[in-house]
């Protein structure tokens, strides 16, 4: 398994103002090996990757490539040394073609040299073939699926002759099938002698594909490049969170038959939904399952009034209503939405914890002159933040400085502070560590117990089975069926998949 030593990180430390991100961290990557880099949010994984690629510079310690100490001034130098990276965020120019994106750094020798599109697309198709990606290199990236974009990014990294490939949560937005394809590609690359570093929160995947593992906890090595063989899931989790994982096996909850809070009848929207029939009762957790592109987040936004209702009826607490904006949804009807895209839609990263947690209650707390005191916002949101165990040095801390898990807690907290009656939660655990994930699941249950109606959107099947009371399956902007959740994972995942495949066949 262990080929030549390609990349070695040795005793690296890094501090940011007020935060010690990495302390004495080491990791080694060998040719032909797929190495898992694990840790909870805020453990320092991303910082480590940024140090390897020259985006950050270590305060102390070294990064060695082929046994030679290197200090990259920027990611381009790292790429030239054979280190390719695919970040969590997409970095493609969506209006350019697949080929242009893959060859973006080598479109021509200088700014005015004419571009040989034939050569570019031939070269690009070589990498697409290697990745088993059957798309025309002349197609604009905007026409690809999320998974295909992911593969194009990997192709781009590989085309730079990368001997070391760093993948930061590459499967976060992929379906099981797409993940399988990606893994086949990664195995092939490893056989060809590439060293791969794989960052993921999904331990099942790690055990499936990785052979060695480095775990970070609070910016330190909980283990340094250890073979994965002989370890079990529990061992890894223990290293990540510093204690045993508590497996929450929830009993199915009794069905409520109170009148529904949200009721959609033959609902259609300008986003493209048709014949949507859906009810969510107070105290009920309804899961909305579907593959990426099924129209689930779009349905949430249609309920919030962000796209127009074009047919059918939307009833809130039994009354047919028209919701014209999220402001309407929140202030008139008590509907909140935790977005899957925390950075773009969920939070205002530039502003403080207080500014984010209080945004939903400003209107309520302001006096007739519109005057608003920090004190009253703190009184209102503080208890919720405290209950959710948000870890922040102060309410005035800029939220962009908090870890992903804490950010997510704040983006849920603001709706709890507003006392919403219906909370739509979209992919609550994307990029969230195990501890926070379990915590959020408990919280969702507690909210339901207190009578909040909950619509849970998730692509994470175990999460769905663990949390939802019943599961509504969506594809192609329609409802395809419903599955009563008895927490029997195998039966439910089969039932869900059959709903999706039936609709695909029809």
């Amino acid at each position: 398994m262990s080929g030549a030593l390609l990349l070695q990180v040795s005793h690296v430390s890094k501090s940011f103002p007020g935060v010690r991100a990495l302390t004495d961290v080491s990791m080694t990557l060998h040719a032909g090996s797929i190495h898992a880099l694990l840790g909870e949010n805020g453990a320092g994984k991303s910082t480590l990757i940024k140090i390897i690629t020259g985006l950050h510079h270590p305060d102390s310690g070294d990064v060695m490539v082929n046994g030679e100490v290197r200090r990259f001034a920027n990611p381009r130098q790292a790429a030239a040394a054979g280190i390719g990276v695919v970040h969590q965020e997409r970095n493609l120019v969506t209006r350019f073609s697949v080929g242009e994106n893959i060859m973006l750094e080598r479109l021509g020798r200088h700014a005015l040299s004419s571009i040989d599109y034939g050569a570019i697309h031939t070269e690009a198709s070589k990498w697409l073939r290697l990745l088993d990606l059957d798309v025309d290199p002349r197609l604009p990236v905007s026409r690809l699926s999320v998974a295909q974009m992911q593969l194009v990014e990997i192709g781009k990294a590989l085309s730079l002759q990368s001997r070391v490939l760093l993948l930061d949560e590459p499967t976060a937005s992929l379906t099981q099938n797409e993940t399988r394809v990606l893994f086949a590609v990664l195995r092939k690359l490893a056989q060809d002698g590439v060293a791969i570093c794989f960052v993921s929160h999904k331990l099942e995947e790690v055990f499936e594909i990785c052979d060695t593992v480095t775990v970070l906890r609070d910016g330190r090595n909980a283990c340094d490049s250890q073979p994965l063989k002989g370890l079990v899931r529990g061992d890894v989790v223990k290293m990540m969170i510093g204690r045993e994982e508590q497996i929450a096996r929830r009993a199915p909850r009794p069905r409520t038959d109170v009148a529904p809070y949200l009721e959609l009848t033959d609902f259609a929207s300008s986003a493209g939904h048709t014949d949507i029939n859906l009810t969510v009762r107070p105290g009920e957790i309804v899961g909305l399952y579907g593959l990426v592109g099924a129209g689930r987040s779009e349905l949430a936004k249609a309920i919030l009034g962000m796209s127009r209702k074009t047919g059918g009826e939307l009833r809130i607490a039994g009354r047919a209503v028209n919701i014209s904006s999220p402001a309407d949804a929140l202030h008139q009807h008590g509907i909140g939405y935790v977005s899957e895209d925390r950075k773009q839609e969920g939070l205002i990263l530039l502003h403080s914890v207080l500014g984010n947690a209080g945004i939903t209650v400003w209107r309520k707390l302001a006096n007739t002159l519109g005057l608003l005191r920090d004190r009253s916002v703190i009184d209102h949101t503080g208890p919720v933040l405290k209950k959710l165990e948000v870890k922040t040095p102060s309410m005035h801390q800029v939220i962009g400085n908090l870890s992903g898990g804490n950010q997510q807690k704040v983006s849920v907290a603001k709706w709890i502070a507003a006392g919403v009656k219906l909370l739509i939660i979209d992919e609550p655990s994307v990029g969230i560590d195990i501890k926070t994930k379990a915590y959020l699941h408990d919280l969702i249950h507690e909210l339901a117990e207190q009578g909040t109606a909950i619509l849970l959107i998730t692509s994470d099947m175990p999460e769905m089975v663990d949390v939802a009371d019943r599961i509504v399956v969506m594809s192609g902007f329609r409802i395809r069926g419903e599955v009563e959740n008895d927490r029997n994972y195998d039966r439910i995942s089969r039932a869900i998949m059959s709903h999706i495949h039936d609709s695909a066949a029809a």
Partner: protein
């Protein structure tokens, strides 16, 4: 702040209070840097120019600082949205001309004409705001167009003639001093700065403006009507621009179509210089109200110092251009720093 630590759990030690102490924040703030530069400029000019610290010189400087601050604040209220308003000058002149017409031709009392002129400016800002929000076109293009339209219509209606027999109270206000040094116009800008600080810091409306400016999508989903908020920002800018126009009118005692140059363009440099020097983030969502005041002060102290040293006006223009460029580079640096820290 210590009581708030309760929010953190046992692991808080891992994330020490990244918020520096009050003294540290003051020391590293943009405002402190500006104060140092202002002190330096005053020191240099008062040594080399004996007349620089004369009562008259300080009074006129303060008066101009007052006007430029108001112009800068007008632009700042739109920069908050992440946009800009090229028509501040045009709105200022149009409102001032409307003011002159109300007093001279319509014979309205000053006490009524002032609020009407400000409302008129806000109305022009409303036109800007609605057009920008409805079309989704960048404010640069919309306000470039409205600048020409407002100014053109004003020239047509006024036949490019000034209103120069205004009631003496107007000029009287412009000459008014508080104590021996402080111009009434500077005091007005100070009061406006205080009011804007209260708006952004202590009102839900102001916070909505900052939230919508920093991240419109997140704000919208959190129940902020961002469209309305942006329109309100443009109305505020229009009202403040009108106020600046009235201040210029009070200084000269007449409402003149050319008081801010062709299309009101002479205001653009001070309009951007003051807020950007002051530390208002060009990408929106963060203001520096008193920074704007200090920015305007620095610009005017240097300008009038150089003028008294008989440096040619065109050199001063070039110098101000370079100062703006330096301020924009500082803004970029701030932006990069914020992104590094993951705040954007």
């Amino acid at each position: 702040m210590t009581d708030l630590k309760l929010i953190g759990g046992e692991d808080t030690a891992f994330l020490p209070d990244a918020r520096p102490s009050l003294a540290q924040r003051l020391l590293f703030s943009n405002e402190f840097g500006l104060l140092l530069l202002i002190g330096l400029a005053i020191a240099i000019f008062s040594v080399s120019l004996p007349s620089f610290t004369s009562t008259f010189s300080l009074f006129t400087m303060g008066r101009q600082i007052g006007i430029d601050t108001m112009i800068g604040l007008a632009m700042m209220t739109v920069i908050v949205t992440g946009g800009l308003d090229l028509s501040v000058g045009a709105i200022g002149v149009c409102s001032a001309m409307f003011f002159g017409w109300m007093l001279q031709s319509a014979g309205l009392p000053v006490a009524l004409a002032i609020p009407l002129a400000i409302a008129f400016g806000a109305g022009l800002g409303f036109i800007n705001g609605v057009t920008i929000v409805r079309t989704g076109v960048h404010s640069f293009i919309i306000t470039l167009a409205s600048m020409s339209i407002f100014f053109g219509v004003m020239i047509f209606l006024s036949k490019a003639e000034a209103f120069n027999s205004l009631p003496p109270a107007v000029l009287g206000f412009g000459k008014l001093r508080i104590g021996t040094l402080v111009s009434s116009l500077l005091a007005l800008s100070l009061a406006t700065s205080v009011a804007l600080s209260i708006l952004y810091r202590f009102t839900s409306g102001g916070r909505r403006m900052l939230a919508a400016g920093a991240n419109p999508r997140a704000a919208e989903i959190s129940g902020v009507r961002t469209g309305r908020v942006f329109i309100a920002c443009h109305m505020l800018a229009g009202g403040l621009a009108a106020l600046a126009g009235l201040m210029v009118t009070a200084r000269t005692g007449a409402a003149v179509p050319a008081m801010a140059g062709h299309l009101g363009q002479d205001w653009l440099l001070p309009a951007f210089l003051a807020p950007v020097l002051g530390g208002t983030l060009l990408s929106g969502g963060r203001v520096a109200v008193f920074g704007t005041l200090l920015g305007a002060a620095l610009v005017n102290i240097i300008t009038s110092g150089l003028l008294q040293m008989r440096v040619g006006e065109f050199w001063i223009q070039a110098f101000l251009g370079m100062l703006l460029l330096a301020a924009v580079l500082a803004d970029r640096a701030r932006h990069t720093l914020l992104r590094r820290k993951g705040m954007i």
